[in-house]
């Protein structure tokens, strides 16, 4: 088991570094000079040159990369060009929001998806099944931003159950936090829950045809045990895969939702930082997302290993 996890850990290192190198190069190769942008239209070439030296931008690209790698290893990602504050202090503020948003969205997606998928599979070809399948297709087809606006219109503007936008951190109390996170999380999670519904349904229907389910029934085990333990154990595997992919997608794709709901998240921070040519902050943001994704993948692998003993020995 430990050996398996160690091997998995080694495999995620490229997941972290490849996107970093790409982002580093892309930023340097794109037009626009951060020193010039920061000093504004009135700056003299001398002032710009001085700032470039200060930021290390006059060094060759490979030298900048080496210095930056050294920074990562010493946990020093430099200062944000725009905020003039260490990147290591800025990132956690924004990352917390995005990670919480994704986590709540994922929980909602899994709960909704697994429940509907099971109900659907248990009532195969009955009206309730057809209803769920149709709703799921609809859910997959709707873009998140549209669903976000719909939620705001219904629950925030018309019913006034939730605030229209804004963010309260968890320190402000669970209810205050929940009120600001629920609608964004639902908007973000609804497509994923539709995907999971379909996955859960088809995987459950497959598993119910397996001979070992007939065995469990022939042994006299009650249907709740047969479904809840014998069928779910194997049927959950594809859903775990989808949940992992969904979480990754939501982490990176929360931008639109963060902007619509005015959440101070990583996605919004990144979009703004790219616009400002704030190299250190962009790199820090991408590094953070890569790291979270890598940890997430490791978690999924761990869940696989727990669910399926055959994987541990491979």
């Amino acid at each position: 088991m430990l050996r398996y996890l160690f091997k998995r850990f080694l495999l995620i290192l490229p997941t972290i570094f490849v996107p970093l190198i790409l982002v580093f190069l892309l930023l340097r190769l794109s037009p626009g000079d951060p020193a010039g942008m920061m000093l504004g239209d009135q700056a003299t070439p001398e002032q710009i040159a001085a700032l470039r030296t200060q930021l290390g931008l006059d060094q060759p690209v490979w030298m900048q990369f080496v210095l930056w790698l050294k920074g990562i290893l010493t946990l020093d990602l430099g200062n944000s060009i725009f905020f003039r504050e260490p990147v290591m202090q800025i990132i956690p503020r924004y990352a917390t929001v995005t990670i919480l948003l994704t986590a709540v969205a994922l929980v909602l997606a899994v709960v909704i998806g697994v429940t509907l998928g099971l109900v659907s599979a248990m009532n195969r070809n009955k009206p309730i099944d057809r209803g769920v399948v149709t709703t799921a297709v609809l859910g997959i087809s709707l873009p998140e931003f549209w669903f976000a606006l719909l939620l705001i219109f219904v629950f925030a503007v018309t019913l006034r159950w939730f605030p229209v936008a804004g963010y309260n951190p968890p320190d402000a109390g669970i209810i205050a936090f929940g009120a600001t996170i629920f609608l964004p999380a639902l908007a973000l999670g609804v497509r994923q829950s539709a995907l999971m519904t379909r996955m859960m349904r088809s995987s459950m229907l497959d598993v119910l045809n397996e001979p070992y389910i007939t065995t469990a029934r022939a042994q006299g085990l009650p249907e709740t045990t047969v479904l809840g333990r014998y069928a779910m154990r194997t049927a959950a595997m594809p859903v775990v895969t989808v949940a992992g992919l969904s979480a990754g997608y939501m982490l990176g794709g929360a931008v639109a939702i963060e902007i619509i709901f005015a959440l101070p998240g990583l996605g919004r921070m990144l979009v703004e930082a790219v616009g400002r040519r704030d190299y250190p902050l962009v790199e820090g943001g991408v590094l953070t997302i890569s790291l979270v994704l890598a940890v997430l993948n490791l978690l999924i692998d761990l869940i696989y290993a727990i669910l399926d003993p055959r994987i541990r020995y491979q």
């Binding site: 070992y212 065995t215 029934r217 022939a218 042994q219």
Partner: protein, 339 residues
């Protein structure tokens, strides 16, 4: 439950004269309900099994053997419509609801499947699968169930039982898997065990071992055993009586020695002639021409007539199962005994 309480697997030798009837199947029929109405799969199956007796259900693939077994177990597909009577230990179980039927599974009836690799759960440990059953059916504690599971594995000839309990089905060989399956089937002391082609998926060398084990279990536990097979050698060596099925019907029924040595139904004869024999000097096998007609396309009258060398005009009407000198036969032109 019924007056009969589940006997714990212990060596209780009951003299043959006192052997009671464990299973009675009377005029069992089964159809699938689909969009066009009812599709008959099994039309008229009757037989009984006494304590300590092995009865074979014989026939080619598609004759309705396995679905008959699942109807007896109460695990037939949801769209199956079942007619006739099934009586287990004096209780008419065909009249019970699904929940009561499920309660009989494991405790009173055990099932051994053809392919243990897929019939055992791939990601639950063997111990877990056995203790789940023992805890639920016998109300044992976790430790008592584990203890009992280890004893059962020991009994079916699995070495290092405690280690195997922690293992998974993919770690075992084919023969070991089927031994686990057998241990599971007998774990809660059933009086009837249904084995659906239990050796078909195994290597030839292992087949004999598994058959020996089943034979031992039957003798030791005085089990009534329904043995579904297409292997007539197994029928002759292993079973007391045999029921030959063709296209959803019982076509011949009797002592297995009579059926394997001097069958009266042309289909039973055909099955025997299609088996390679070591001693009769034949150089070629005689196959039964054609195939079992698919469900829904059964001919009127005798269903075997299109493949039968003895068929004539009379076979266009449906024959009944009638008692001849030694077996019950459904045929207008039965073979003479010994023919």
């Amino acid at each position: 439950m019924s007056a009969h309480s589940a006997p714990m697997p212990a060596e209780i030798a009951v003299p043959p004269a006192q052997r009671r009837t464990v299973l009675e199947v009377e005029n069992l029929s089964l159809s699938f309900r689909n969009a066009d109405g009812l599709l008959p799969i099994v039309t008229d199956v009757s037989f009984s099994i006494r304590q300590g007796e092995a009865v074979a259900l014989v026939g080619e693939s598609g004759c309705g053997k396995s679905i008959t077994a699942s109807a007896i177990m109460g695990i037939a597909p949801e769209n199956a419509v079942i007619g006739g009577r099934i009586v287990l230990n004096g209780q008419e179980i065909s009249a019970l609801g699904p929940k009561e039927r499920r309660r009989l599974c494991g405790r009173h009836m055990g099932f051994i499947f053809q392919e243990p690799m897929t019939a055992l759960h791939p990601t639950l440990s063997i111990g877990r699968q056995m203790t789940d059953t023992l805890k639920h059916n016998l109300g044992l504690s976790q430790s008592a169930a584990t203890q009992r599971a280890a004893e059962l594995l020991d009994r079916v000839g699995i070495p290092r039982a405690r280690d195997i309990l922690k293992g998974y089905v993919h770690e075992l060989s084919g023969g070991m898997r089927q031994r686990v399956m057998i241990a599971l089937a007998i774990s809660c002391g059933p009086s009837l065990v249904i084995a659906d082609e239990p050796t078909t998926a195994l290597d030839v060398t292992i087949q004999a071992q598994v058959l020996d084990l089943l034979e031992d279990m039957r003798r030791e536990l005085d089990l009534a055993m329904l043995f579904i097979t297409h292997d007539l050698e197994v029928v002759g060596d292993f079973c007391d009586r045999a029921v030959v099925m063709y296209a959803g019907d019982v076509v011949e029924r009797g002592e297995s020695a009579d059926i394997t040595r001097r069958p009266s139904h042309p289909y039973a004869r055909g099955l025997i002639d299609a088996v390679p024999a070591h001693d009769d000097g034949r150089t070629r096998l005689t196959p039964i021409l054609g195939t079992v007609p698919p469900v829904g396309q059964w001919p009127e009258g005798c269903r075997f007539a299109p493949r039968c060398g003895r068929a004539d005009e009379k076979c266009r009407t449906r024959p009944h199962l009638e008692t001849l000198s030694h077996t019950d036969v459904r045929c207008w032109h039965p073979l003479e005994a010994g023919a």
